[in-house]
């Protein structure tokens, strides 16, 4: 066990630092500021574009994307990836363009796309010139993606697509959508779905903001009425969109499982407890609150070092097995318990909304409380994940109802 990196990696870290010092100046860093927890995709500025081009050239970004399509085509190395993230974050330098285009579509195209699709889409996506949204969820189909009902019928050279998608983040800004569409109505549930690329400017597409529980509008609904999509605008074979999409979801699960946001929440919580007075005394001096904080810190540290254990396993190319599967549920439950404590620390101000300046920390923890749902629900609900832990992690029998 050695928590410092070997000389090889320390050298790599120095190399990354030197690169950053050279290409991402103090002025750039100041301008960039703190990254938001949930970054939304946007077209990059010229400054960012120039920097990212350098970073790709150096092998730091888009490491799993072939050079031919704008990536840096590096062998997988969990430690190098971590070092890059750590150093880029410390320098507030741009990393991969956020959003589902890079996170989900690009790996799918790399794996399943035709040479033409790769050529057409990957490079502009990784530069942020093409913004994507995801069209999986539907009002009638949540965890059970295979039951989706948006349908596509072939009419000459085009698919005619009708249906509705929901929980689409940034559909308003997106140029294209990658979507799952049922094209063979008579096939069994998991077959007959096609992975389709749809240009958002096509007539018949309407995007409506979806207002959330917490008052924000980070998601939209997308209505598709007789939308004409060119016949060849599909990834993988017709009717085989289900396995294509499932390879993508792995990325999403890994993304949501991190502990950074939990650490941020915890650190904020400690400050909240220190600076919020309850009846003349800082909340942190209350024995019950203090005890709960320490218990939560123990769980947080367990989660953080569990992450390091997983990283080590990945670095050694070992299967993370059960240890990898439990991360999401353990982390989101921890996050829930953290924000739950925050509400208790707020005392009677739990009644006040985020943004109310008279609430402690302007009520920001109320929003965190509400956002916890997105964590619980995003990337498959907790119950679905429980099934996966039980079946793949513990070897219990598969659920007959959800058998595929």
């Amino acid at each position: 066990m050695n928590l410092s990196y070997s000389e090889e990696y320390e050298a790599f870290r120095r190399e990354v630092r030197a690169f950053l010092d050279k290409h991402w100046t103090e002025a750039d860093r100041e301008k960039a500021g703190e990254a938001p927890i949930l970054a939304m995709p946007r077209k990059q500025t010229e400054r960012e574009a120039a920097f990212r081009a350098k970073a790709v050239e150096a092998g730091y970004l888009y490491k799993s994307v072939p050079r031919a399509y704008g990536g840096s085509e590096q062998p997988f190395d969990a430690f190098k990836s971590t070092i890059i993230v750590e150093e880029f974050r410390a320098a507030k330098a741009p990393r991969e363009i956020p959003g589902q285009g890079v996170a989900m579509l690009v790996p799918t195209l790399v794996e399943h796309g035709t040479p033409e699709q790769k050529q057409q889409f990957i490079a502009p996506t990784v530069t942020g010139d093409l913004v994507w949204c995801q069209g999986y969820s539907e009002p009638g189909a949540g965890s059970d993606l295979a039951s989706l009902r948006t349908k596509g019928e072939l009419d000459g050279d085009h698919w005619i697509v009708n249906g509705q998608k929901i929980w689409t983040s940034n559909a308003s800004e997106a140029d294209w959508m990658f979507a799952l569409v049922r094209t063979e109505p008579d096939a069994p549930k998991h077959q007959g779905i096609t992975y389709m690329l749809i240009e958002m400017a096509t007539p018949g597409i309407e995007v409506r903001p979806l207002k959330q529980l917490n008052g924000g509008t980070d998601f939209t609904e997308v209505f598709l009425e007789n939308v004409r999509v060119p016949k060849n605008s599909i990834v993988g074979a017709r009717g085989e969109g289900w396995p294509v999409s499932r390879s993508t979801l792995k990325h999403e699960r890994a993304f949501i499982g991190g502990t950074d946001y939990v650490r941020k929440t915890f650190d904020g919580l400690v400050m909240l407890a220190q600076f919020t007075n309850l009846r003349g005394e800082p909340a942190i001096k209350n024995d019950t609150i203090r005890t709960r904080l320490v218990e939560l810190e123990a769980r947080l540290i367990a989660a953080e070092f569990h992450g390091k254990r997983l990283l080590t396993m990945s670095g050694k190319k070992q299967d993370t097995g059960l240890a990898g599967l439990i991360t999401k549920n353990a982390t989101s439950e921890l996050q829930h318990d953290l924000v739950d404590l925050a509400l208790d620390i707020m005392g009677d101000c739990a009644a006040l909304a985020t943004g109310e300046e008279k609430a402690p920390f302007s009520g920001m923890f109320v929003d965190a409380y509400m956002w916890t749902f997105a964590l619980l629900i995003g990337g498959g609900t907790t119950n679905i994940q429980r099934n996966i832990i039980a079946e793949r992690g513990l070897g219990l029998p598969r659920d007959p109802a959800t058998k595929r």
Partner: protein, 361 residues
């Protein structure tokens, strides 16, 4: 031995429920919620017509002089329907007036509140989650009241405010009329937009004494019980919605309510909700039958129900999946009301301390 509702009580409860089902569907809740004041005079007038404003007013002042449990049952139904408006503060104000000894004020205000002509509210809690009378700093001297009350329901639309304060060592309630000098009202942004809160500052504001420590205690205890009843109604509604949703919504070819794990989660929620009814019923019953027990049982009800409602609202929202996270889906109305019920009148920890002290622990 009858730990149940009388026929009159069942009728009252059913009448209020029917009225709200007809007059206060969630579409209307949302309209009121999005209005400036959060107060729908017409809806309130309808409720007054049903008698809810007269229930706590003694007959001699034109009211019904009902048992406190009756009013609590109404609060449950208002919670069930997520009814927007000033009920809680108005009811507490009346109870404070009745419990006090200011005959002139009673004669002046009680008949009007019973008929819906006037609306009262209460200002008790102070900064740093102080709600116990012993901790109040707002003070009265020479008929002038000075202090800050950061969580006052519907101060902006009320005709009078009963303020918890102290004169010398003795705590009590004082009445301030709308528009009194030295009073500043600032609206707050709350999680629950169906029950508005204002931040009110008094600076040498003219105030008339309503009653002493007992009146203040009765007013606060009544509020704790009414908020508990509201929480019960809300939790009941949320559970029902989730049950209904689980029967409609299909996943993997069957209603999600057929999945064993879902069933068990809902069963656990039901097992948590159901006994809470008896807890608030009994607390309400003590007000008339065993007033010496009210302080303890009102606090216990608030401790349990305030937390239970939040837990249930959270779990049920999660059990809905994505749709529960939308603004359009009605569940969020109760999710937000739960946060009001959690915080207003003081958090669970405060009341745990109070109960422990009463027990000498």
């Amino acid at each position: 031995m009858d730990f149940g509702l009388s026929e009159d009580q069942q009728l009252l409860k059913a009448t209020v429920a029917r009225f709200l089902a007809e007059q206060c569907p969630t579409t209307r809740v949302r309209e009121v919620m999005e209005s400036d004041t959060g107060h729908d005079a017409q809806l309130w007038a309808g409720l007054v017509e049903l008698g809810i404003a007269s229930l706590p007013v003694p007959e001699e002042y034109g009211g019904l002089g009902s048992e406190f449990l009756d009013l609590s049952l109404v609060a449950e139904e208002l919670g069930y329907a997520a009814t927007p408006g000033p009920f809680l503060g108005a009811a507490m104000a009346v109870i404070g007036l009745v419990a006090g000894d200011a005959q002139e004020l009673k004669a002046r205000w009680l008949p009007e509140t019973a008929s819906g002509g006037s609306l009262g509210t209460v200002a008790i809690g102070e900064a740093e989650s102080v709600w116990d009378p012993s901790g109040l700093k707002t003070s009265v001297s020479d008929g002038k009241l000075t202090g800050r009350k950061p969580l006052v329901p519907y101060a902006a639309v009320s005709d009078f405010i009963l303020v918890g304060a102290r004169e010398g060592e003795e705590s009590g309630l004082w009445l301030v009329e709308a528009g009194a000098s030295g009073m500043q009202i600032e609206p707050l942004s709350g999680n629950d937009m169906t029950r508005r809160l204002d931040d009110v500052v008094f600076n040498a504001t003219p105030a008339v004494r309503v009653g002493g420590p007992d009146a203040l205690a009765r007013c606060l205890d009544a509020g704790l019980i009414l908020i508990s009843a509201d929480a019960f109604g809300g939790a009941r509604r949320v559970l029902e919605m989730t049950r209904d949703y689980s029967l409609e919504r299909e996943q993997f070819g069957q209603p999600i309510g057929a999945f064993q794990s879902y069933k068990h989660q809902l069963a656990d929620i039901a097992a948590e909700v159901e006994p809470c009814m008896a807890l608030y019923w009994y607390a309400a019953h003590t007000v008339d039958a065993f007033p010496e027990q009210t302080a303890k049982h009102a606090a216990l009800a608030k401790i349990r129900l305030g937390e239970m409602f939040n837990r249930v609202a959270f779990q049920c929202t999660e059990l809905h999946g994505g749709i529960g996270f939308t603004w359009e889906y009605d569940l969020q109305l109760w999710f937000r009301r739960a946060l009001f019920d959690k915080g207003f009148l003081g958090e669970a920890a405060l009341h745990c301390d109070r109960v422990a002290e009463m027990a000498g622990w």
